[in-house]
Amino acid sequence: MKRLRTLPWVLLFTLAARPALAGLSAAEALALVRVVDERQRNSGDWKGQFFLQQQEKGKNDLVYDGVYFRRDADDRLMIVFVQPRSERGKGYLRISKNLWFYDARIGKWERRTERERIGGTDSNRQDFDESRLAEEYLARHSGDATLGRYRAYVLELRARPGVDVAYPTLKLWIDQQSRNVLKRQEFAASGKLLRTSYYPHWVKVQSPSKGGEVWYPRELRIFDELEPANRTTMVVREVDLRPLPANIFTKAWLEAQSR
């Protein structure tokens, strides 16, 4: 297992040794995606506080403060809104392939789809979840680009056959130095661009379970390409990687929080 985890870094070293403008092979591009995943992988539990805002032309803003929990080993995720008061206790719970929504004011659960707009914003479940790009997609190096002060690899990712993902095609701009994602574009099966996201600010924390550092985007700016005036801002304020209570990823736990 440990050898498997070191493999991306060996490939990464190989990448760094190549001439800057040389194209990456498909294997190298996929290795780069594995590095992106690996930098964000935690292995253990995760708790983060977030701010989420949706702005649309001619409409009132949606603004939330909340907490999200992850247990990546079991593929579990919980998002709970804490503010504003009217939204307090509402939340999402992902258990394996199921995404549930809980409305604390009503006390009922509803099954939601993979494309659920979290809290009515342009963010979706994947923006809160562990990065599993290499598991879900095949990569191709389509060129290099400059984003402000950064040189970036531009990779095109296509969903692996038989894997159910929200977006069949992605385009990633990966910082050639840090290997952090700077920009991401998501496309529909027809090739239509749906979302463009920017990750201008990355933070690293020490993970006891991983025994190393974990990177996460502190700020995420999502622009809706179908409705150009719509945009979402997500800010992750604090991350705690220590173990969570065993029963936290259950419906009963979330129900109990707002009783």
């Binding site: 659960w109 920017y198 800010v235």
Partner: protein
């Protein structure tokens, strides 16, 4: 005696002389005319029939239209529209009570200060009531049977009701067993490969549930078993139903007082000042009722209309669906109910002991013209009482989900269902019968108006997050801004791991106390009101016009900030339907009269040509042109009087008969158009006079060119023709 002076004097003298001559020659002219009409019977009958038919059609058409117009006005005004509708002045779209053509509701904003508006309007003498309203569309999910059962079981576990928990667990076990058996046919119903990709292998998911110890150990750890069932087994039930509901939020007590077409059909009215929901009876039957039972109702309706199953392709299709979907029917029956249904059907249908309940149900539902009546009755006697006939029952909580107007985000509000209602006469109209009723407080929460308090709360959250506004154009500059830190060291000391979130009770939780709360009139009046219906004391058309003008003047003077429109305009397509019918009627009458004009004209022209010799002879013996003209016109007048009169009499008799017996509405469209099951037209003498006048006008116009031809005939021409 001196000669008259001047042009007008001479004309007066001429008319006076003509008048005197007319009276003197009238008996002769009348005799000649009647003789001519008798002589040319065929022509007389042809022209006369056309005049008779035209008069009859015009009279009956205009009276029928008037009846439809008045019926629709009564229905719309007294069911939901009121005489006048008010909405915010300068709104983005114009108000449409029944929504846009695409089914959406127009965005008309909200009325700024409803209490002040109502106070001002009640100063007008003719204003009786002003009813606050708001109309929108919500969706409600009935979930699939499996998920409904799971939700009920979770609620029972949560409440600690062990008896209910056991009963529900037993039923759920049966539902899953039936579902398990039906999986063998799954390939025919669903894309199994895709299903497995999305939800995993159903066989694998059910393996744990098939083990006998799963259910025997259920009570030991119900939450663990529930989590498994909800996440692994729940998605297997694919038949989730979404109900789309157009709802009208209002002060329900005031609404009931104001609109006399409103009546509760089943259940009870929402208690005054409380939250609650009433289903439109039609919606309840169509969308909430068990599908098999509903299809049987539809077949019965068709047969009651005189159709037979053999001649009704829809009925045959409904029967096929019922037979194919006995599995879902069986799933709804708990073990005891299934056994009882099986025994009763075996007895009634004469089936053998080896026949299963599923086979017996299929046999029951395979209906034809011979057995329909008996089997329909058998279904309602034996099966229906043991089914969940309606997925939402009175007293249940219905969760309405609507897109908030302000943000576009969905909002959910649970409301207690009190019963069903109908607007008398509108209930069978799919277009106008689709309103459901909800209290004003629930409507406001679904509307999602951003209050100043909530706006301040958002500002605080934004400030705390310290987020800068970045537009799309500025996004790439995030990577170029000097001093922008892309990587930084995370916090060394992480906060303590959470034992809980300690959210405390959720604000405004929709608990039983909230559902029971009685809101004061002031609370009902102060808040979001999208539109308001004004009901007048005197609803005559003239009074409506007068009050609308007074209201508009008051609105300008006091700056009330509303737009006021009449019921017809507010009813949009529905109200304009009457105009469409009106124009169609006028168009049809115009065409009929044009055709009549041409036929009558040709017939009279031919008759005049035939009579050239006779006219010439008359002229030769001293008859003036005016005498010839009088003779021709007299013939037309006699025809109008006789045949137009007959048409008017026949039309009047038919209208009097229809006014007594009524015209039956054979389809839902006519039901709506007639504002009820029958239309009772009334005979109006003004319409009789109008029809006769129109008939006379057409006949006289048709006489113009024959008369002109007759006047040109000279004695010499007549003689020459004779030679």
């Amino acid at each position: 005696m001196s000669a008259p002076r001047g042009r007008w004097g001479r004309l007066g003298a001429l008319l006076s002389a003509e008048g005197s001559l007319l009276w003197q020659t009238l008996p002769v002219v009348a005799r000649i005319s009647l003789r001519n009409l008798r002589l040319h019977r065929l022509r007389t009958l042809l022209v006369g029939s056309i005049l008779l038919l035209g008069t009859l059609l015009l009279l009956s058409g205009s009276c029928l239209f008037e009846a439809v117009d008045q019926a629709m006005e009564r229905t719309l005004v007294n069911s939901v529209a009121g005489h006048i509708q008010l909405y915010r002045a300068g709104a983005k779209e114009s108000f449409q009570l029944f929504g846009n053509m695409d089914g959406s509701m127009p965005d008309v904003g909200v009325i700024e200060n409803f209490p002040a508006l109502r106070r001002a309007l009640l100063q007008l003498d003719n204003v009786a009531t002003v009813v606050p309203m708001g109309i929108d569309i919500a969706v409600s999910s009935t979930e699939n049977l499996l998920e409904r059962q799971l939700a009920a079981l979770r609620a029972a576990v949560r409440s600690g009701d062990l008896a209910r928990q056991r009963a529900l667990a037993q039923h759920l076990q049966r539902v899953i067993a039936v579902f398990d058996r039906s999986l063998s046919n799954a390939e025919a119903l669903i894309d199994v490969a895709r299903y497995k990709r999305e939800y995993g292998d159903p066989d694998l998911a059910l393996a744990r549930v098939r083990r006998p110890d799963f259910w025997s150990r259920f009570e030991a750890d119900p939450y663990d078993a529930l989590e498994y069932l909800e996440n692994e087994v729940g998605p297997l039930g694919l038949d989730q139903d979404l109900i789309w509901l157009r709802y009208l939020g209002t002060d329900t007590a005031l609404f009931r007082q104001t609109f006399d077409r409103f009546e509760v059909v089943d259940g009870t009215m929402i208690p005054p000042g409380q939250r609650g929901f009433l289903f439109n009876k039609r919606v309840y039957e169509e969308q909430v009722k068990n599908k098999t039972a509903r299809r049987l109702d539809l077949i019965k309706e068709k047969l009651d209309e005189g159709l037979t199953i053999a001649r009704c392709p829809d009925c045959q299709s409904w029967i096929r669906l019922n037979v194919n979907q006995t599995g879902s029917l069986l799933m709804q029956l708990d073990p005891l109910a299934a056994e009882a249904v099986g025994a009763a059907l075996r007895r009634e249908l004469g089936g053998g002991k080896q026949q299963s309940t599923a086979q017996l149900l299929r046999e029951l539902l395979a209906m034809d013209d011979q057995n329909f009546a008996a089997r329909h009755a058998l279904f309602y006697r034996v099966v229906a009482p043991r089914l969940e006939l309606y997925s939402i029952k009175f007293g249940d909580e219905l969760v309405l989900t609507a897109f908030a107007r302000g943000s576009g985000y969905t909002r959910k509000v649970p409301v207690k269902v009190y019963g069903t209602f109908r607007f008398r006469s509108l209930d069978r109209s799919p277009l106008a019968g689709g309103f459901n009723l909800v209290d004003l407080m629930s409507f406001r929460e679904l509307y999602g108006y951003l209050t100043p308090e909530r706006r301040r709360e958002q500002e605080t959250l934004r400030r705390r997050a310290g987020v800068k506004a970045v537009t799309r154009a500025q996004a790439e500059a995030l990577f170029a801004a000097p001093g922008e830190v892309v990587e930084e060291q995370g916090r060394g000391a992480a906060p303590a791991a959470p034992a809980g979130l300690d959210l405390g009770p959720s604000t405004g939780r929709y608990d039983a106390a909230l559902q029971r709360r009685v809101y004061s009139q002031s609370e009902l009046d102060h808040g979001v009101v999208v539109n308001a219906a004004v009901m007048l004391k005197d609803g005559s058309r003239a009074a409506q016009r007068r009050t609308l003008e007074q209201l508009r003047t008051l609105n300008r003077r006091l700056g009330l900030g509303v737009a006021a429109i009449g019921w017809r305009e507010a009813s949009g397509v529905v109200g304009q339907l009457v105009d469409v019918i009106r124009y169609a009627l006028y168009g049809a009458m115009l065409v009929i009269f044009l055709v009549a004009l041409i036929i009558v004209n040709n017939a009279l022209l031919l008759a005049t040509l035939e009579r050239t010799r006779e006219i010439g002879t008359l002229r030769a013996i001293g008859a003036q042109r005016s005498f010839v003209l009088r003779m021709i016109v007299a013939e037309t007048v006699v025809m109008v009087a006789v045949f137009g009169g007959c048409g008017a009499a026949l039309g009047s008799a038919a209208l009097l008969w229809l006014g007594h017996h009524g015209i039956p509405a054979t389809t839902d469209f006519f039901h709506f158009l007639f504002s009820g099951p029958r239309l009772y037209p009334a005979l109006a003498w003004s319409q009789v006079a109008l029809a006769l006048a129109s008939c006379a006008l057409v006949a006289l116009i048709a006489t113009l060119s024959p008369a002109r031809l007759a006047l040109r005939v000279t004695p010499r021409e007549a003689m020459a023709e004779g030679d």
